[in-house]
């Protein structure tokens, strides 16, 4: 129990950050994080050190995230596809564009439009909890493919930023 609590305290926030990057709804991220550790509890007999656990926990979290995506997609498809992708917000006024918080908001929206694997690579790499190799392992791809995903993600974000407001780059 104590060991489990220690693991929870060490890893639950990184997992939460990862899940947050993958699902837009924060309360859903809380739930998925809780689910992950509830599942870990049921297999606690097989836990070894935290280090070997890290990849394991992230993999469990990842399964939950992808299940969630699949369920959400099914639900969406069941509904008549009335709505196409949400259109880009119109270019804002210049002074509005300078607002860093607004940039963050926009980025958050664009992140959600990225292909899931690009978003995932970007999220995992950003929080430095897992090594580059561990990320590759988790995503079942090679380390260079991880970087390809991230580079592609950054590139498309940059393009949208340019379209959003060219001056912001400088």
């Amino acid at each position: 129990m104590d060991a489990f609590e220690a693991i929870f305290r060490r890893l639950s926030e990184p997992v939460f950050r990862y899940v947050c990057g993958m699902v837009s709804d924060e309360s859903l991220a809380h739930d998925l994080t809780q689910d992950t550790f509830a599942k870990l509890w049921t297999v606690r007999d097989r836990m070894a050190s935290v280090d070997s656990l890290r990849g394991y926990v992230f993999r469990m979290a990842r399964n939950r995230v992808y299940n969630q995506h699949r369920n959400a997609r099914t639900r969406r498809e069941n509904r008549a596809q009335l709505h196409e992708n949400t259109p880009d917000a119109s270019p804002p006024a210049p002074d509005e564009a300078l607002d860093a918080d607004l940039l963050q908001d926009r980025l958050q929206q664009w992140i959600q439009d990225l292909p899931p694997r690009q978003r995932e690579a970007l999220t995992l790499r950003r929080q430095q909890e897992l090594s580059h190799d561990a990320i590759a392992d988790l995503m079942d791809i090679s380390p260079s493919t991880v970087n390809n995903h991230i580079t592609r993600a950054l590139k498309s974000l940059r393009e949208r930023l340019d379209k959003y407001h060219p001056n912001l780059r400088s």
């Binding site: 929870f8 639950s12 926030e13 950050r17 469990m60 963050q104 950003r126 970087n147 974000l157 940059r158």
Partner: protein
């Protein structure tokens, strides 16, 4: 930006310097979002929540499964432990039912209470069809349905009164009792007025009969001695219990004095000025202050049969007592000219 934001990893840095700057910017902005979200993550709260949840699920058999599969369906456990648990839950249910019944019974025992603010009047219809007209600043409480338990009639119809009310009691086989802080009025079917007030620091109760019979006794002191019981049997009979003393022997007054407040008027008979002012406060809900010694004023009798305004009453009082009144921030005060 943020000094502790990790920079873009070098293996992700593009050769183009312009692009590198933008990537760095995006990277930093994303980090700030991460941090903002993580700051809302309370690991202690999350742990408490998870621990709660796991205690509930503790009986899930641990499954030696790979991480890529989903949670298996719960397997019901057999054996002594689950039997004990089943018994425990039956017991819990029984305890809950008993508690619910106890709470229900307790709730039933709680009296129904009606309170009027100063200056307000209302009529309460009691469970037996009797009515009580409440003057201002009055509380009337009675047992739910005049029953001691659901469907079990109480041996008497009992109401508790603090303030003033005019009762019109339906004649029934059960006695009707009005209990005031210091007296008890017993009736069978009748109309009468009960008023409680403070007289020289002691609680006082005045009963005035309109029709029928009522018995009045003091509840404090030697309450059962026959001398402490007074029967009112004629219209206009009135008796008063002051403190722990026995009721005064019946006197006859004009019923208009107890009738006035019910018609929107005001009446009081042979009362000291402070008492008059207190009754006016009850009737009109406006604070009144007397800024002259009470001993320098005279007892007085007032009668307004129907709708009257406080200002008119005050004007008349001041003419009689040789005072004048003026408005204050809260109400009125009476002063010597």
């Amino acid at each position: 930006m943020d000094h502790d934001t990790p920079p873009l990893p070098s293996d992700l840095r593009p050769p183009d310097a312009d692009a590198a700057r933008t990537y760095e910017r995006i990277w930093t902005a994303l980090h700030r979002t991460d941090d903002a979200r993580a700051s809302s993550y309370d690991v202690d709260a999350e742990w408490t929540q998870l621990a709660d949840r796991l205690n509930l699920e503790e009986d899930d058999s641990p499954t030696p499964e790979g991480p890529t599969t989903d949670r298996p369906p719960r397997q019901p456990k057999r054996g002594a432990a689950s039997r004990v648990r089943r018994h425990t839950s039956t017991l819990t249910a029984a305890v809950l039912v008993v508690c619910a019944l106890a709470i229900g019974a307790w709730w039933w025992q709680q009296p129904v209470s009606v309170t009027t603010a100063a200056g307000q009047q209302t009529t309460v219809t009691l469970p037996d069809g009797s009515t009580a007209e409440l003057n201002g600043a009055t509380t009337l409480a009675y047992g739910r349905g005049f029953q001691s338990l659901p469907f079990v009639p109480a041996s008497q119809r009992r109401v508790r009164l603090d303030g003033e009310a005019f009762f019109a009691v339906e004649s029934r086989d059960r006695p009707f009792r009005v209990v005031t802080p210091n007296a008890r009025v017993e009736v069978l079917g009748t109309e009468f007025d009960v008023r409680t007030h403070a007289a020289a620091d002691a609680p006082a109760t005045t009963v005035t009969l309109k029709s029928g019979h009522v018995r009045l006794r003091s509840t404090s002191g030697a309450g059962t001695a026959p001398t402490t019981v007074v029967t009112l049997s004629e219209a206009g009979h009135t008796s008063r219990v002051v403190g722990t003393q026995a009721p005064t022997s019946p006197q006859t007054i004009d019923l208009k004095y107890v009738q006035a407040w019910r018609d929107g008027g005001f009446a009081i008979q042979n009362a000291a000025l402070p008492t008059v002012l207190r009754e006016l406060e009850r009737r009109f809900g406006t604070p009144l202050a007397l800024n002259v010694p009470a001993s320098s004023t005279d007892p007085m009798t007032l009668h307004y049969a129907a709708d009257v305004r406080l200002k008119d009453v005050l004007r008349d009082i001041c003419v009689i007592q040789g005072l004048s009144f003026r408005e204050t921030s809260r109400g009125y005060e009476l002063v010597r000219d």
